[in-house]
């Protein structure tokens, strides 16, 4: 936990510096820092607000690091592991599963990816029987289709499975 606290604070400081630098960049080709200034008659420039927020972020990160050195915050004293074995496996299986789900949307669309994800989670992580698994994995996309595509007209991505949906569009849309 102690090491994770420092690493996180350093990463967040770098992020803050990146936002500070990005705030000073002008989309209209002015020199760096022009957008942070007070412009006569226009008030503070477009980068003023995010720049000073990022300064605040950086300041807080430095404060966290100072607390780390002084061992003043609970995570900087904690001997516990940041993530134990269970936590790491959980993150890989569940977090990885959700990541794969979102990645698959680009190829087999929301509905295909949803079905694959639900089968993976219910059958393999949850160890439910196939009846439970399949009824949810098939029921969920059907409900979603009628709710989003049909009722709300929010067309969810279909990926390469688009041709399968053409007859459904003809009937319901």
């Amino acid at each position: 936990m102690r090491r994770a606290e420092l690493v996180t604070a350093v990463i967040l400081s770098l992020l803050s510096i990146y936002i500070m630098w990005k705030s000073g960049q002008s989309a209209w080709g002015d020199g760096w820092g022009e957008s942070i200034r007070y412009i006569e008659g226009e008030g503070p420039g477009s980068g003023f607000w995010p720049f000073w927020l990022a300064v605040g972020m950086l300041g807080s990160c430095i404060w966290v690091i100072v607390n780390w050195v002084r061992k003043a915050s609970p995570p900087s004293r904690s001997e516990e592991r940041f993530l134990d074995n269970y936590g790491i496996m959980m993150l890989l299986k569940v977090g990885g599963g959700v990541t794969a789900f979102i990645g698959l949307i680009h190829f087999i669309g929301m509905y295909g990816a949803m079905t694959v994800f639900l089968i993976y989670y219910l059958a393999f992580l949850g160890r439910h029987n196939w009846l439970t698994t399949l009824s949810i994995a098939i029921g969920a996309p059907i409900v979603t289709f009628f709710f989003f595509d049909v009722a709300m007209r929010i067309v969810l991505p279909k990926g390469y499975l688009e041709p399968l949906f053409l007859p459904l569009y003809d009937i319901f849309l």
Partner: protein
């Protein structure tokens, strides 16, 4: 009297078939969400917000408010029968609710919780109806400096009263505000903070992307990681007779109910406080002032009534600054406020004058939802107990799926879905290190209001920050905000001095 007529109109609007149906569904969903450990009102409201694009804004808001209400009732169900709080707002309910259940009086605890919730909610609704219109009419005269000072005050409460690690709280606030600044600058029209020059950032970061990422994906991961032990459930036998008997005995819990109702409302108004500390404080005060404090923690019905009355009262309290000033009093109301912006409503004091057709049905719905919540709660306790037996491995993938679909539906851009995943994973890791995330959620909603008011104020004063101090309303607010920000520092110095003497 005007207020009463407007309120009556509002209540009648809520009784229209569509709205009434949405209230019943919302309350039921809310009860379920509140009862499920790991899910609270904010998760439910954030994940289901995209689903409300189907109905008109007023109905959508009524639906989401009903979820909020139901969740406050629902938290008690699992606190009592499982011994683990269904939502953080019901933590204090476990102190006495669990011992009651273990001694075979789960019925009594559940009924007392429901009745106390109802009384707390009703009391807060009356206060809300009385306070909101005058507060809104005062707020009508506010200019940019006053509004910015109020924003500062809202964030200052997190630093001074939030109780979390201070630099991490400040980081969370600044980060949320910076995320809100991504995209086109509304004043100069210049695109800014286009990270890595990815065009997806051009349309800004929708608050829902952060809200669903943090409260859908991040919170689920957190719950899976932290609840590993098996949970034993205490059943409850609910019959009409049992409920009537228990209801009669609940009169004995009037003291806890009264303290919870009053304290909850005022704690709920503060952005950093809200229902969780409100219910803990109500429990503490009730115990402290009791004649027999040694009974608390062993199964006192006052100990169940106080936090339950307080969390319902606080949820209405949190609505007060949201509706009148445009500053949410809790993470859930922050999501509701974001929803109002999506529906094209301008939050703030003008709502009362410009959108009475929106405000009064919403206020009316508080009363109707409260009434329906207590009925649904008592009638369907057996159903909720049955649903609580549902394994988390079924609920979790369904929530993940809803989050991804909802995240896409909000902006219909895959870029935002990926961003949501990053926020979710980041939120999970940061939460382990005690970074508070509620301030960031509030900040991304308030950012688009805070920044223009700051810049307009500075333009009014030619860049002189004294404008926030020398105006009659903005001045005191800014000073209170600064006092709150430096409160932890004063406390530190005070403690040091006391140690020396």
């Amino acid at each position: 009297m005007d207020v009463l007529f407007l309120l009556l109109d509002g209540v009648i609007a809520c009784l229209e078939p569509l709205n009434l149906m949405l209230i019943v569904i919302g309350v039921t969903v809310g009860l379920f969400i509140g009862a499920m450990p790991g899910l609270g009102s904010v998760n439910g409201v954030a994940i289901l917000l995209p689903a409300t694009f189907l109905v008109p804004p007023t109905s959508a808001m009524i639906f989401l408010a009903a979820i909020y209400y139901g969740a406050m009732y629902g938290g008690a169900i699992s606190s009592i029968t499982l011994g683990i709080p269904g939502a953080s707002t019901a933590v204090a309910t476990t102190f006495d609710g669990r011992p009651l259940a273990l001694s075979g009086r789960a019925n009594q605890a559940l009924v007392t919780a429901a009745i106390a919730s109802f009384v707390g909610g009703t009391f807060a609704n009356l206060l809300f109806t009385g306070f909101a219109p005058p507060l809104a009419s005062v707020a009508l005269s506010f200019g940019p400096p006053e509004i910015f000072a109020l924003m500062l005050l809202a964030f200052a409460t997190f630093v001074g009263l939030g109780g979390d690690d201070i630099p991490k709280t400040i980081f969370s606030i600044c980060f949320g505000l910076a995320l809100a600044a991504v995209g086109f600058d509304v004043i100069s029209g210049e695109p800014r903070l286009i990270f890595m020059d990815i065009t997806g950032f051009m349309h800004g970061i929708n608050f829902l992307v952060l809200a669903i990422g943090v409260y859908g994906i991040g919170e689920m991961l957190w719950t899976i990681n932290s609840t590993r032990d098996d949970i034993t459930m205490t059943g409850a036998e609910i019959t009409v007779r049992n409920v009537m008997n228990a209801a009669k005995k609940s009169v004995g819990a009037w003291r806890g109910t009264a303290i919870g109702s009053g304290l909850g409302f005022f704690v709920g108004i503060l952005p950093a406080a809200g229902a969780t500390p409100g219910s803990l404080m109500a429990y503490g005060v009730t115990k402290m002032t009791a004649k027999n404090p040694e009974q608390y923690g062993k199964g006192s019905i006052n100990g169940v009534a106080a936090p339950e009355a307080a969390n319902n009262s606080a949820s209405t309290g949190a609505m007060l600054p949201m509706v009148t000033l445009g500053i949410p009093g809790s993470p859930t109301t922050a999501v509701l406020l974001g929803g109002m912006v999506i529906w094209g409503l301008q939050p703030g004091p003008r709502l009362f004058t410009d959108q009475p057709d929106f405000v009064w049905p919403l206020v009316g719905s508080f009363y109707v939802s409260n009434f329906i919540a207590v009925l649904v709660n008592l009638a369907f306790i057996p159903l909720f107990l049955w649903m609580l037996k549902m394994p988390f491995t079924i609920l979790a993938p369904v929530i993940f799926t809803l989050s991804v679909v909802g995240g896409y539906a909000a902006t219909q851009d895959m870029h935002d879905v990926w961003l949501m995943l990053i926020f979710g994973l980041g939120a999970f890791l940061l939460r382990i290190l005690d970074y508070p995330l509620a301030p960031a959620g509030l900040a991304i909603v308030l950012g688009p209001i805070a920044e223009p008011t700051l810049r307009q104020s500075l333009l009014l004063s030619d860049g002189d920050p004294m404008i926030f101090f020398d105006r009659p309303i903005a001045g005191p607010i800014t000073i209170i905000a600064l006092v709150l920000i430096f409160l932890p520092l004063f406390k530190l110095i005070f403690d040091r001095i006391r140690k020396k003497t």
